[in-house]
Symmetry: C2
DNA sequence: TAGATTGTTAATCGATTAACAATC
DNA sequence: TAGATTGTTAATCGATTAACAATC
């Protein structure tokens, strides 16, 4: 798809474009331009054209972009023209919120199991799932070749959980714990820590 | 504190430094170096020194940084050498997880109220709070001069909620809804959308 | 056609890294 | 002192923007 390697900062913007385009479609819009899209996102039109040009020519001069077509292309590029099965580790309040969130499926991700190492939680229901134990998780990841995990355990338990996930074959982890994981370099990790965002804002709100 | 304006990309790394330093302290470590800190975070030592030098001279040649001292300085720089009161809007599963999360307080943020516009939810308990209605939220923000809000409502309700918050005086919003908010330019917004992170990773996990 | 917008090139801007004198 | 590490400068690297020919 790409000739050489595309900068990660560009890859990181594509999901944002995809989200905005999907929103446009849901409002009945069929065509957009780099300027229109850029205004919604607070990004320059030049940057959007440059980003997309890394992957092909998706627009028409004078007209702009057909939104459905561009959505299809972005889905292919990002490999979300399929549904990814993911495991969820951690069945606390956050795990419950993640398990119940309907927004994953429509954007390419299906939770197929929820796991926790607390024996008191194992067997309990959580959303549409029943909490299972870690050994079952390892089995499941191996048998179904699961490659993506969401980690919603306390910080103290995150590293060990990540190691288990990697050992079983997971190659991408979305980590909700406020800690830095050590993983092999062929394993991708993305972090969500709301406090980092808050502290970034308080700098400007004195 | 800063002579001219500090690049936002640097501001964004300071909370990460602060988090790592706090972790070191909790493990009994008292001194660190730019190299030590950088290795934990996957950042070059030069970058860490350069970032910190924007705000002052915090280290000693030959020795490194006193962790407690550096933590204090970073807290001052980021304005988290105090506790910020914040309101939480949205009392669904995610709102509950946020309301129950103990990690905010120790890092500078105290939730002081939870609000939802669903009359069936108003009056119900959520964590240590009782869900209140939006009109009470407006009052509270005005009376207590609340400047920060966390927004955990569905996408469709996010823009209207944000407008109410801004009208009442909020100047920074942490938005959990997968949508772009339109706010006046003196209002800061940070976004959390787990799917963006997942889609960024699937690009590399084909 | 006239107007609009793309894809791309070159110019600008900003961020990162390397290197080292200063000094603890 | 000798070794280590800072803060800072200059060099490098990469990302963004401006501009425009191509063309729908």
């Amino acid at each position: 798809m790409q000739s050489l390697s595309v900068p990660d900062i560009i890859v990181g913007r594509l999901p944002l474009y995809l989200r905005a385009l999907s929103h446009m479609i849901s409002e009945g819009q069929e065509i957009t331009s780099s300027q229109d899209l850029g205004e919604r996102l607070g990004i320059s039109s030049a940057q959007i054209r440059k980003d997309l040009s890394q992957f092909g020519e998706f627009g028409k001069q004078g007209t702009g972009y057909n939104i459905s077509f561009l959505i299809d292309q972005l889905r292919k590029i990002l490999h979300v023209d399929r549904i990814w099965d993911v495991v969820l580790v951690g069945a606390g309040d956050l795990g419950r919120a993640v398990a119940n969130y309907r927004g994953f499926l429509e954007r390419g991700f299906r939770i197929i199991g929820v796991y926790d190492n607390d024996p008191k939680k194992v067997g309990q229901p959580i959303g549409d799932f029943v909490i299972e134990e870690p050994s079952r998780m390892m089995e499941k990841i191996r048998q179904d070749r699961i490659e993506i995990a969401m980690l919603a355990v306390p910080s103290a338990a995150a590293q060990e959980a990540a190691e288990n996930l990697v050992e079983a074959g997971v190659r991408a982890i979305l980590c909700y714990a406020p800690t830095s994981l050590k993983v092999p370099k062929d394993v991708r990790v993305q972090y969500i820590d709301p406090v980092l965002h808050l502290q970034r804002m308080t700098y400007y709100v004195p």
